[in-house]
């Protein structure tokens, strides 16, 4: 070790007071689940964190009933002002317990503490704070005066941003006056369980938030439950399709945040230092396990080689390892299943003529890891230019003209995000106009804010989360 190397700086887990086993949080109480309990393991060590209950149909029924009762008796009749005050309380407690939540999230998900500490958890608190303020201002969300809540919202969230996705779902739903039953992903249930404790600390009335753990069957039972009025799902496009089908012909409202294959377009006049950081942030943030990741780099042909050289140089400095280490840039892949998917897709990309280069970093012996990888020579028709990899793998394509960049960027069934790097403001605006994507970042990437609507075009889903549009998803026009 030289003086330029980084000494280990792991965040202590002593701040966590975890239980060995977590039940279902229904009607303000913990109860066992009817299904077979399952373990959540830390992806960086493969060690078990705790056991979690699996909700069966009976549990789903009980959770929906608890939510219905709370909606009818407490949360529905409550003034917007008081609902808002509960949400403000939650926001404050989230801030107070931020370190604990960041450690728990990194442990359970495998993402670097730098991200949970500086991105996930602060955004979670901000999301509740933002939505809290909406609760008594619903007349101004754009649906006319006196808009009404739907009732009981069923919400299913993914494993890539467990607590952040919980906040995107629960905060607007509650502000609008709905009660919720939320199911976290089976590989990352931990922070949702801690959130139950936060609801109790905030004195939130029983049944307003119900948290049930389990796998796909639990989610399937939840969205199909006849007493659910609104379904919100974030996850894969395949599951999104299934849910849309299951809800066809019902009166349930649906919003979907699904997959993506975001194009990150770099023009030859881009500020290259920033662009390189933006490319890295776009695809290696959260190990690329981000639906809006900039997974397709579209680089103008004349600067391709220069960009690749600098990108590889930068990638070589990324520190991969212990997610709880404050110096870690790239953490663990969330599960073996995900690691297998990434590996399979990269192999396909190489088999189809792509040239893969991985950052020269040592992978820990235990846990699930994939080195940051860039694949050049990718064709628009290649598997890795079309399918969402959901991992730290960047596919590189080139273009010559803005029209070609736009055509290639839009050549996907997805339409969630895109990035543009150029110093020419007029060109940035013109290109942004033509991109069929719900979020366009210009000279930045992967920025999120509760005031800023987020969501996709085409097969990336429908509905928005964040801002006025995000509130509308949880309301119907007043009478």
């Amino acid at each position: 070790m030289t003086f330029l190397d980084y000494a280990p700086a792991p965040e202590s887990t002593s701040i966590l007071g975890l239980r060995d086993e977590y039940g279902l949080f229904i009607g303000g109480e913990w109860r066992p689940g009817g299904g077979t309990s399952f373990a959540s393991v830390s992806p960086s060590t493969e060690r078990q964190i705790a056991m979690f209950a699996a909700a069966d149909e009976g549990d789903v029924d009980a959770a929906v009933a608890a939510a219905r009762k709370a909606y009818r008796n407490v949360w529905g009749p409550m003034s917007g002002r008081d609902r808002g005050k509960y949400l403000f309380r939650i926001a404050r407690i989230l801030q107070e317990r931020a370190r604990e939540l960041a450690v728990a999230e990194s442990l359970d998900n495998g993402k670097p503490i730098k991200e949970t500490r500086d991105a996930d958890v602060p955004l979670v608190a901000q999301w509740f704070f933002h939505c809290a303020g909406w609760a008594d201002k619903l007349d101004w969300v754009g649906l006319g005066a006196n808009p009404q809540a739907h009732g009981v919202a069923a919400q299913i969230i993914p494993w890539n941003f467990p607590l952040l996705m919980l906040s995107w779902k629960i905060a607007p739903a509650l502000a609008a006056g709905n009660t919720v039953v939320l199911k976290p992903a089976e590989t990352t249930p931990l922070t949702a369980m801690l959130f139950a404790d936060i609801c109790q600390q905030a004195g939130l009335p029983a049944g307003v938030v119900n948290l049930i753990t389990g796998a796909g069957e639990t989610g399937s039972a939840l969205v199909r439950h006849p007493d659910v009025d609104k379904v919100a799902f974030t996850g894969s496009t395949a599951v999104g399709r299934e849910i849309a089908k299951a809800l066809a012909g019902t009166s349930k409202k649906l919003t979907l945040e699904l997959g993506g294959k975001g194009a990150n377009i770099v023009f030859d006049d881009a500020p290259l230092d920033q662009a390189i950081e933006g490319i890295v942030n776009g695809i290696f943030f959260n190990q690329g396990q981000v639906c809006c990741a900039g997974s397709r780099l579209l680089v103008q042909e004349n600067i391709h080689d220069a960009v690749m050289d600098r990108l590889k140089e930068r990638m070589a400095t990324l520190r991969l390892g212990d997610p709880l280490d404050k110096n870690t840039d790239v953490g663990a892949i969330n599960s073996t299943a995900q690691l297998e998917r990434i590996t399979r897709l990269v192999d396909a990309g190489i088999a189809e003529g792509g040239e893969a280069w991985s950052a020269p970093c040592e992978l820990p012996k235990e846990g699930y890891w994939f080195a940051p990888t860039v694949v050049t020579g990718v064709e628009a028709s290649s598997t890795i230019a079309r399918e969402e990899i959901f991992g730290p793998v960047l596919s590189v394509l080139t273009f010559r003209t803005p029209d070609e960049a736009i055509a290639k960027a839009n050549n996907t069934p997805y339409g969630l995000s895109a990035g543009i790097w150029s110093d020419k403001g007029s060109r940035v605006l013109a290109v942004a106009d033509k991109l069929r994507a719900g979020v366009v970042w210009t000279n930045t990437f992967n920025k999120f804010d509760p005031a800023s609507p987020f969501g996709g075009y085409k097969e990336s889903g429908y509905g928005r989360e964040g801002g006025r549009q995000g509130m509308q998803a949880y309301l119907k026009g007043g009478k």
Binding site: A248, L256, P413, V440, R468
Partner: protein
């Protein structure tokens, strides 16, 4: 050219109509003009695809009769292939229409109202003939439809102001959300209210720059006459495509078509609309469920066929 005739009325009427066909010119059109010595020139009602008026590639027609079962016209009966041609034309025309300025789109929609006003008598005539409405009631309906085009014309440069927003994000960014057209919208138009019903679903889709493939409901003659108005209103060819025919036959192809972005089932209440919605889920189309669905003549109706795009522009640090 016509090879098959399918009457929408009862069997008895059908028989009568067949008889009437052989005994031309005993049709109502001729009867109505009986006082005139001149023999009138009836119109051929064809499809409207890509700005042109083709017959159905299938060669099929549907016979339209008046309230008393007398022959009025043979209307083209669109096929699956016609539907695909219509979607292709709509896709081709959509970027240009969306790329026109809001002021320009507003003027074109207003122009539709202007041209409709001039041809009001024709629309009233067709409605009276085929729906059995009195002339006064038909006129009211046509006038309401014209006014609805004017209402929508006025929205093109305002929807962004009420459907979009500047977002106060916690960082050095200029952040703005704007509504943009969803793309190609397939519409099953309401089964009632003829031109008015048709307008209530087509006009809102056009406001922000979607292109449309519409299967009209009960008023195929009004739909094709409207197409003639659109064709002479500076509306680019392909922005609106009209497929007269059997909605139950055409809707499944439109619902499953991968290049259709949204499916408006407002008039599909009597069809198996649940399987249409299920089919639309395969490509995650935006779906407007059958009436009451989303109320007509509301900004929500226009916004339902838009996507919110949020753009983050970096501000430099000074």
């Amino acid at each position: 050219m016509a090879t098959s005739k399918t009457s929408k009325t009862a069997t008895a009427t059908k028989a009568a109509a067949t008889e009437a066909t052989t005994a031309r010119p005993a049709g109502s059109r001729a009867a109505a003009r009986a006082a005139s010595a001149r023999l009138d020139v009836p119109k051929t009602y064809k499809l409207f695809i890509g700005g042109a008026f083709p017959r159905s590639e299938s060669g099929r027609v549907t016979e339209v009769t008046d309230a008393r079962g007398r022959f009025v016209a043979n209307v083209a009966k669109a096929s699956r292939k016609d539907a695909r041609e219509a979607v292709r034309a709509a896709r081709k025309a959509q970027p240009g229409w969306a790329g026109a300025t809001a002021y320009n789109r507003g003027q074109v929609l207003y122009r539709v109202a202007e041209v409709l006003e001039g041809r009001k008598a024709q629309f009233v005539d067709e409605l009276v003939q085929t729906s059995g409405l009195t002339a006064a009631r038909a006129a009211k309906q046509v006038e309401a439809a014209i006014d609805l085009w004017v209402w929508h014309a006025g929205w093109t440069d305002k929807i962004a102001a009420i459907g979009g927003n500047a977002n106060a994000v916690a960082g050095p960014y200029f952040n703005i959300s704007v509504p943009e057209p969803t793309g190609v919208v397939a519409i099953i138009a309401p089964q009632s209210e003829g031109l008015l019903g048709l307008t209530s679903v087509v006009a809102p889709a056009l406001v922000m720059g979607n292109s449309v493939v519409v299967v009209p409901g009960s008023a195929p003659l009004s739909a094709i006459s409207l197409a003639e108005v659109l064709a002479t209103s500076d509306m680019p060819g392909g922005v609106v495509n009209v497929l007269t025919g059997d909605a139950a036959e055409l809707a499944p192809w439109l619902a499953s078509h991968a290049d259709v972005n949204a499916l408006d089932l407002t008039g599909a209440g009597s069809l198996d609309w649940i399987s249409l919605e299920q089919s639309a889920a395969d490509t995650l189309k935006r779906v407007i469920r059958p009436e009451p669905g989303i109320a007509p003549e509301t900004p929500q109706r226009i916004l339902a066929l838009t996507e919110t795009k949020t753009i983050w522009h970096t501000k430099s640090r000074l």
